[in-house]
């Protein structure tokens, strides 16, 4: 009886073993929750790749943007990272410092690489491509044309127009978040507009001490405080709003001017907004060079991933025009691939504005310790908004904290 059971068990195991042994390698992809990106698209991409591929499978794991870095760091630290993940390009240096990521080129086809706009290859570090660009977008100024049609040429003009068109509580002149969140963009718009640099550049090209407390930084933060506390042209209770919770105020028609990204059109459609919008460059202070902000995200390959070859095959599939083009349209970022850029979808006022802004936009500094810079700069901004410190005092403290964290 016992031998009979064992025999039957052995037959069952032998029958099913080939399935276990021969199942295609399955790569994991951490998929960031961009505004406008739908679950249907993610699911259909996953199904489509898995259906047509016999030697590689993909599992696309959706992760909200705000928790992506935490989840990724936990996975990497635990020795079980995904094979590939969307990352903020500025994170790549941190991962390189811990030898967690690998060069992209060995896993992705030449055809895919050749189809990428060279200008978007921000993740090239010392000649090696450490992240494949997935989204790159300059930030722009959007105007609710039912409130204002005046396009400011300087930040000072923006202030004047915001005051002119400010009608609280029906609508406000300008949106400005006052609560710390994962993006440092809003301070950066004014900082770059004042000609500021986050770090000094040393003779060898590397970054030295933090210079967020330079005259440009003080000017930027002083101006932001004036807009909110003296001119009172920003939304009520602005210190409770971050970008995610505040931009819907614009979509609801309650804001005249907002500094925003490429997702604005897609997000407005999803919010059911119907008012006309004018797009323009984010202006600089009078006398300063035009200098907006461009942000890129990349797909990074993780060294401890179990199925990097399978991940590479998926990336080749994803970066085809029918999928990557649709992805770009949903999230609203201009395409980084050359073939998708030819689609007439991008021939709109929004993308003309984005392309124009990109000509003069500057990226984040690619520096180890950006997280500390983000946090400390936000604390400085909040201190000024709460009246607890002057801009110089607050930014001096921020710069000192950043230098301390970087061992400067």
């Amino acid at each position: 009886m016992k031998k009979s059971i064992l025999f039957r068990l052995g037959v069952v195991i032998l029958l099913f073993a080939p399935i276990v042994v021969w199942s295609a390698p399955k790569a994991t992809f951490f998929w960031a929750g961009y505004d406008g990106l739908t679950e249907d698209f993610r699911a259909s991409l996953e199904s489509a790749f898995n259906a047509q591929s016999t030697d590689a499978q993909i599992q696309i794991v959706p992760v909200p943007w705000d928790s992506l870095q935490d989840k990724l760091n936990t996975a990497v630290a635990g020795g079980a990272p995904p094979d590939i993940s969307v990352v903020g390009t500025r994170w790549i240096l941190d991962y390189m410092s811990t030898d967690s990521v690998v060069e992209v080129a060995p896993y992705v086809s030449k055809a895919t690489l050749d189809n990428i706009n060279p200008a978007a290859m921000e993740a090239k570090v010392k000649g090696k491509l450490m992240g494949l660009p997935i989204a790159a977008g300059a930030r722009i100024l959007a105007l609710n044309a039912s409130i204002t049609k005046e396009v400011p040429r300087t930040i000072e003009e923006l202030e004047r127009y915001a005051i002119r068109f400010n009608r609280p509580p029906q609508h406000y002149g300008l949106f400005m978040p006052g609560k710390e969140h994962t993006e440092l963009t809003d301070f950066c718009y004014y900082f770059y507009g004042a000609g500021g640099n986050y770090f000094e550049t040393l003779p060898d090209g590397s970054y030295g001490k933090c210079t967020v407390n330079s005259p440009a930084g003080v000017r930027a933060l002083t101006f932001m405080a004036k807009l909110a506390l003296k001119d009172k042209v920003v939304e009520d209770n602005f210190t409770t709003y971050d970008r995610i919770h505040g931009h819907p105020l614009f979509y609801a028609g309650k804001i005249g001017y907002v500094m925003i990204g490429a997702w604005v059109d897609s997000a407005m459609k999803q919010a059911g907004a119907t008012f006309p919008v004018i797009y323009a460059d984010i202006p600089s202070f009078a006398g300063q060079k035009q200098a907006g902000l461009i942000i890129t995200d990349s797909v990074a390959f993780f060294k401890q991933g179990q199925n990097l070859q399978a991940a590479g095959k998926f990336v080749d599939f994803f970066y085809q025009k029918q999928w990557k083009g649709k992805f770009d349209q949903l999230i609203g970022f201009p395409p980084v691939t050359l073939d998708a850029a030819k689609d007439p979808f991008w021939n709109t006022p929004l993308y003309k504005a984005l392309n124009h802004a990109a000509l003069t936009a500057r990226p984040w500094p690619l520096v180890d310790g950006f997280d500390t810079l983000n946090h400390e700069t936000w604390v400085a901004c909040e201190k000024v908004f709460q009246g607890q410190a002057t801009p110089q005092e607050a930014l001096d403290a921020a710069a000192a904290a950043v230098d301390k964290a970087r061992g400067m």
Partner: protein, 302 residues
């Protein structure tokens, strides 16, 4: 054969003891892996520099501790933690005692009231904090809308966007969640006090207040000590409420030690600093517990 004449080996390695060890082994392994090892590792980490993935890179001795003690924000966070704990525990104690007294009285609907009061304690803390976050929203929240619509406060403060309202709002949520614990503990203690004591007191002419201070409070002494110690530890380490409601802002004005640990570890990825603060928090709470225990046992022996 008396126990004293048994050898040590016979006392700790007899058949009954062996069975106990086997049954305890899974729990011990679990605790060792998920509790003792991480605690010991954090202690070790506090003496090292770490990289962005928390791996130890360089032994620095007490330099991390010196760096923390020289940081003014550390002292502010510690002070806020003490204020947070003191106000939180005393509020929960007083309100919990009041509710326990009310629930101890016999009246119609007492069972329903008892069930209703346990809801904040039974709910998930993060869910409760998220719900209160909606209530506190300056524009769409129930609180500000009610205050302005009823005329009680035509221009109420902007939610959690300013330091004092943010601290007070977080404090209230922590107290709201913690009251049922005290209420239930005290209620259970009150019900264990023999009613004959109250009858005797009444016959001797004692009024309600006299009975409360002479019978109820002494009868609850041990429960008061244990519950306030536990609550102090939990309140000191209450990360969820503050971080969900305010993110430790605005401008770090609601940042206490436990949120500082999180921000250092998972926002700024300075695991060494976070480890130092964790060790300091552990030492503070250990000292409090030891003082408490000494006081408790001294009273018991007296």
């Amino acid at each position: 054969m008396s126990e004293t004449s048994l050898s040590l080996r016979q006392r700790i390695w007899n058949p009954e003891a062996r069975l106990a060890y086997v049954l305890l082994l899974p729990t011990v392994v679990f605790l060792a892996a998920f509790m003792f090892y991480p605690i010991i590792y954090v202690f070790v980490m506090s003496f090292f520099r770490t990289n962005k993935l928390s791996a130890l890179t360089k032994f620095v001795g007490v330099k991390n501790f010196i760096g923390q003690f020289q940081d003014t924000e550390f002292w502010w966070a510690a002070l806020r933690s003490l204020i947070w704990t003191a106000i939180g525990v005393s509020s929960k104690f007083l309100l919990g005692m009041l509710i326990a007294v009310l629930l101890n009285v016999k009246y119609r609907g007492r069972k329903v009231a008892r069930m209703a009061f346990i809801i904040p304690w039974a709910s998930s803390v993060p869910i409760s904090a998220l719900l209160w976050k909606l209530v506190y929203h300056p524009d769409f929240g129930l609180l500000n809308r009610t205050l302005s619509a009823t005329g009680i406060w035509p221009n109420p403060p902007g939610g959690v966007g300013a330091p004092i309202p943010a601290f007070a709002a977080s404090m209230w949520v922590d107290v709201w969640i913690g009251i049922p614990f005290f209420a239930l503990v005290f209620l259970a203690g009150m019900q264990a006090i023999p009613p004959e004591l109250y009858e005797s007191a009444h016959m001797d002419g004692a009024g309600s207040w006299r009975s409360y201070f002479s019978i109820t409070l002494p009868g609850l002494r041990e429960l008061i000590l244990i519950s306030t110690l536990l609550s102090a530890i939990w309140t000191f380490n209450d990360f969820n409420v503050i971080y969900i409601l305010t993110g430790a802002g605005p401008a770090s004005t609601t940042n206490i030690l436990i949120t500082s640990v999180y921000i250092d570890a998972f926002v700024e990825r300075r695991f060494d600093w976070a480890a130092v603060q964790s060790v300091i928090t552990f030492v503070i709470l250990s000292i409090v517990s030891v003082i408490y225990a000494r006081f408790y046992f001294r009273q018991e022996n007296a």
